[in-house]
Symmetry: C2
Subunit: 244 residues, 2 copies
DNA sequence: ATGAGCGTTGCGTATTCTGCAATCCCAATC
DNA sequence: GATTGGGATTGCAGAATACGCAACGCTCAT
């Protein structure tokens, strides 16, 4: 729609991965470096990008300022924050908050396990719908028409031996999720990590997000994770109750 | 330089202040709403902007995704973080970290006072050079030519009765700052708040940032703040030492 | 039902962006 | 100190791109 802006956003995303030189950026975008230079200059003027002494470009402070604000604005996140912290402290496990954004499920917040076992999720990045607890929760809550459309078009990428790889099995799983009010992920996304997830609803009952707990099986096996279910559901309910 | 990009960045900044409707944005920019719509669409596609059900626009999650990654990159910040936390805990006062960026001094990190007295600084926002401790520290460390150029072009805005309002007095102050290795701000920026600041240097001795302590005088008078000086300098030295 | 207020779309125009090529700047090398 | 090379920068002319207009649609409220 807007070409130059689109390119500029690509530049920002690229800079998000690390500093770049002018030529590097030009090569990545496949455009002339003059073009990149001019985009960088405009962004530099507004401090979205900065340039160090060696002419290498990085993200600028304006971006940080905005990002902080964006977080605050994210209502679900704001309401959920204290409850997530509590859940994180009580269980000691990794807690995720996710929400729909533009037809994708995006991780909106993450609190690491106190045992600091590394997880490959990242705030702001889309979650797979077919093999994560939050994905299943939010997918299950979609109106039937859209759910089926998504089921049909999903890319059933295989992450582990347990990953669900076809629409029929996933449909059953979603049915189960909806009936019992929570979703599981038995090492379907990352081997050795089990998750359970629950929906967050607003006052009208519409699902606006999902919370999940992720536990490596060196710490707890799946049955032990299920013992955390009451805590998870209590948190989800508390957030939903606050959300008015 | 790039008109459409420039407008898009203005939109982002505007959204940083709160959610907006299409027309509002068009009015603020003084352009046709079609134009705004197209820019928003491109940004939406990359999740820099999101749109709620009522067609109101907000900042999107891509922003905090970028910021999270980039913050880690900010080496000074990364190296300084644990030391700042320690300083914050030991003194209980507000701690700031600032660095040059595009010819301005920008607050890069901030740890609030445990007494949570509100301060009008904000991460990502420029600091005044003539009336803040970090500003003076970094200005004093500039090469003479640039320092004089800045002294000549500064906008000596008056914030409090103590604000330094001319180049000559500021030059003396910078001289003093350089000699003793730290800067003061005796209620020059915010009435009733005194600050002390110290420089951070890399292995070659080049000043790469500044740390400061800010204390409202209801808690400590200026002489009492000076008693925190050893802590501040120790922190600055520790950060400088780590920075290799 | 009707209208008002926004958001959205198609289209022609001209502004704006682009890529090229020449130039400049800095740094390293001889 | 001159020379060479890599990268950044600038001027320019052509063309794609973004712009504004005006008409259409949608939703909500009266």
């Amino acid at each position: 729609m807007s070409q130059s802006l689109g390119r500029a956003l690509q530049i920002l995303k690229s800079l998000g991965e690390g500093e770049r030189s002018l030529d590097q950026l030009a090569a990545e975008l496949g455009v002339h470096k003059t073009t990149v230079l001019r985009l960088l200059r405009t962004m530099e003027a507004e401090r979205f990008v900065r340039r160090d002494s060696a002419h290498r470009y990085r993200l600028g402070s304006q971006l940080f300022a905005l990002a902080d604000v964006a977080r605050e604005q994210h209502v679900v996140r704001q309401v959920a924050a204290p409850h997530l912290r509590e859940l994180n402290q009580k269980t000691g496990q990794t807690v995720h908050l996710a929400a729909w954004e533009n037809g994708e499920v995006i991780y909106v917040d993450k609190l690491d396990s106190v045992r600091s076992v590394r997880m490959y999720s990242q705030v702001g990045v889309p979650a797979a719908l077919h093999c994560t607890a939050v994905g299943k929760v939010l997918l299950a809550a979609q109106p039937k028409r859209q759910r089926e459309a998504l089921l049909a078009t999903l890319d059933y990428k295989v992450y582990t031996p347990n990953t669900i790889t076809d629409a029929d099995r996933l449909r059953d799983e979603l049915q189960l999720t909806k009936e019992r009010g929570w979703a599981q992920d038995k090492a379907e996304h990352e081997s050795f990590i089990n998750c359970i997830g629950a929906p967050l609803s607003d006052s009208t009952g519409r699902v606006v997000g999902a919370v999940s707990l992720s536990v490596p099986d060196v710490l707890l096996n799946y049955d032990q994770v299920l013992e955390l279910l009451p805590e998870l559901l209590a948190t989800a309910n508390a957030i939903s109750a606050d959300y008015n």
